[in-house]
């Protein structure tokens, strides 16, 4: 079946409307929570995809930005009672500044240095936040005051906020992917030397891509901490967040706009099923097998398969 572009747009609008009105249709607290987790991971993955998918520079440290966003909101809320509406963008701005500072030394070099540095930086941040008790309450974590509204309303508010964040991120990423900048990133991925020789400012593009890619995880982290009302360094700076972003994006389709959402939806759903049917630890094995399968058998992920099938 060959779908026309107009039909695709219609389906897209229908899905978005359906997702928006789900909370009004009835009370599904569990479903809402799972969808929130999916939206959160899809946002992080869209961010990671800019540097890891399009430019081909795997960042192992996107949890850093998630943690920065989460802690900015949590600490200002706890100490000065600032509204998350103000502090979520603040956390995003802080993450971008830090991304530029990390990107400058590590992205000047071609190749594997960046991969290694990002993992290390993530670890530095986790340690610093754990050890600076006077600022961050240390390893005990931060308990936030519960929202003043009714719990059901609160959940719906956060649901819609995460949905809007994911849709906005996806839209921006779609615009970037089709811009000159996005094509430049793809050229860097294909062959960096050739890209440089036709006049693409590779270092500038890479640092810009990394800075932009740090924004969505920071915003997601900013929404996460008032939603959960408790954060600690080992959760929000966890390497598992970065690894999940890599897994989901790769399995869904790195370097495509929809891939991260597909991957996040698939893996979060599967892991929820695993936890309820078997033991939590089986998740690790399932993730590993899926990742190996993707890299070995279908590089390009689910989206590439769908695209090929649509053309045929």
């Amino acid at each position: 079946v060959k779908l026309k572009k107009a039909h695709l747009n219609l389906i897209l609008v229908a899905v978005i409307i359906l997702l928006t009105i789900i909370p009004i249709l009835g009370e599904f607290p569990m479903l809402l929570h799972i969808l929130i987790v999916i939206f959160m991971y899809a946002t992080i993955c869209e961010g990671w995809n800019l540097i890891g998918g399009y430019a081909g520079y795997l960042s192992l440290g996107h949890a850093t930005f998630f943690g920065i966003g989460a802690y900015t909101v949590a600490l200002t809320l706890k100490k000065y009672a600032w509204s998350p509406l103000l502090t979520v963008p603040m956390g995003g701005a802080l993450a971008v500044i830090i991304a530029v500072l990390i990107g400058f030394p590590s992205l000047r070099l071609r190749g594997a240095y960046f991969v290694i540095t990002t993992l290390t930086v993530n670890y530095i941040f986790e340690l610093m936040v754990t050890n600076m008790h006077w600022l961050t309450y240390g390893a005990m974590g931060v308990f936030l005051p519960p929202s003043p509204f009714d719990p059901r309303i609160t959940k719906i508010v956060y649901y819609e906020a995460f949905l809007i964040l994911m849709l906005a991120t996806t839209f921006v990423c779609h615009r970037i992917a089709t811009s000159k900048f996005g094509l430049g990133l793809i050229a860097i991925h294909e062959n960096e030397e050739a890209a440089e020789s036709i006049g693409i400012p590779t270092t500038k593009y890479k640092i810009l891509a990394f800075a932009l890619s740090s924004l969505p995880p920071a915003l997601a982290g900013g929404l996460y901490s008032p939603y959960m009302t408790y954060i600690d360094p080992s959760t929000v700076f966890s390497v598992m967040i970065s690894l999940n972003a890599i897994l989901m994006t790769t399995i869904g389709g790195a370097g495509t706009v929809i891939g991260p959402i597909v991957g996040a939806g698939l893996l979060v759903t599967l892991s929820e099923l695993m936890v309820h049917i078997f033991v939590r630890e089986l998740n690790y094995i399932m993730y590993g097998v899926l990742l190996l399968f993707t890299v070995m058998i279908m590089p390009g992920g689910i989206m590439r398969i769908i695209k090929r099938w649509k053309l045929a």
Binding site: L58, P105, G111, L119, M128, Y287, G288, T294, V295, M296
Partner: protein
């Protein structure tokens, strides 16, 4: 003060032995095959669990358990190289070097998470430790040297010397070095590059097995502690220059001694931060590492 510094240097020196044996396989696989073997520290932790099992079930010393774990890991290395890495590198003609590095990294990530899951199911997340019979320390004047650490250090040095002399003296070792320097030229002079890749990965896995056994002498471990060690190992290969074996030795010494001194002067909670900031400075000042790249 001086005494503290000297004790810090000694304990850092002993720590650097563990770092060397952990990192040498990572540097070797990166130097020769251009693959970042993220599952390398996971192998070490798995080997630590094998040593733990042999110790708790049969009372076998971790050093003796090497006789079992080295052949096991050589086999695991062989299987992983043949089934995962070799097909990926086989696509070499269509991909740039960096694309091979990243797809190899992703595949080995898969291996890492599978092994972590297996370890979590078999041994749960509780930290474990092996209590060897010779725990204690020697006191020389003002210096205190812990015996298990000293044994781990000496053992690591012996294994590293064995690996280096194998690379320098045997025909296969020379072929491995030639492949690392220029794989096309090595192919031209008749080196079987595929075979050298397999042997490299087997050697690297065997050193990871040794590292795991030496690790049990001094450190507790749990299934996800490989993430802690891999950060340190990444620091060392950047400090020394990616893929350089002499770099591994220098990088481990610098990191170990810096951590030892920082632990005795400041507080042990800030040790890791000091070490990692060192890495950022090196990256800013000497981006290609202290020794440059590709030296054997």
């Amino acid at each position: 003060m001086i005494q503290q510094i000297i004790n810090g240097v000694i304990s850092g020196l002993l720590l650097s032995g563990i770092y060397m044996i952990l990192t040498i396989g990572l540097a070797l696989t990166f130097g020769v095959m251009r693959i970042i073997s993220v599952c390398h520290s996971t192998f070490a932790i798995l080997s630590a669990y094998i040593a733990y099992w042999l110790w708790i079930l049969y009372g076998i010393d971790p050093i003796v358990s090497l006789l079992v774990s080295i052949p096991i890991f050589a086999l695991i290395g062989f299987a992983i190289e043949k089934s995962i890495i070799s097909p990926l590198i086989g696509r070499r003609e269509h991909l740039t070097e960096f694309q091979i590095t990243t797809s190899g990294l992703l595949a080995l990530f898969g291996v890492m998470t599978i092994l972590q899951g297996i370890m979590l199911i078999m041994w749960t997340g509780t930290p474990r430790a092996v209590l060897v019979s010779y725990v204690g320390s020697i006191t020389v004047g003002v210096l205190k040297i812990s015996i298990p650490r000293l044994i781990g250090f000496v053992g690591s040095i012996i294994v590293i010397l064995l690996v280096i002399s194998f690379l320098k003296l045997s025909y296969i070792g020379k072929a491995i070095i030639a492949t690392a320097q220029n794989y096309e030229a090595a192919q031209l002079v008749g080196v079987n590059v595929k075979l050298t890749y397999t042997i490299t990965f087997i050697i690297a896995s065997a050193t990871a097995a040794a590292a795991g056994a030496f690790l049990t002498l001094t450190y507790p471990f749990y299934p996800l502690s490989d993430l802690y060690w891999i950060v340190k190992m990444f620091c060392i290969i950047v400090l020394g220059g990616m893929g350089s074996l002499t770099g591994v030795i220098f990088g481990s010494l610098i990191l170990g001694i810096a951590e030892g001194v920082a632990a005795s002067l400041i507080s042990s909670v800030w040790v890791d931060v000091v070490a990692l900031l060192l890495l950022i400075f090196i990256l800013l000042l000497r981006p290609k590492g202290l020794l440059g790249t590709m030296e054997f």
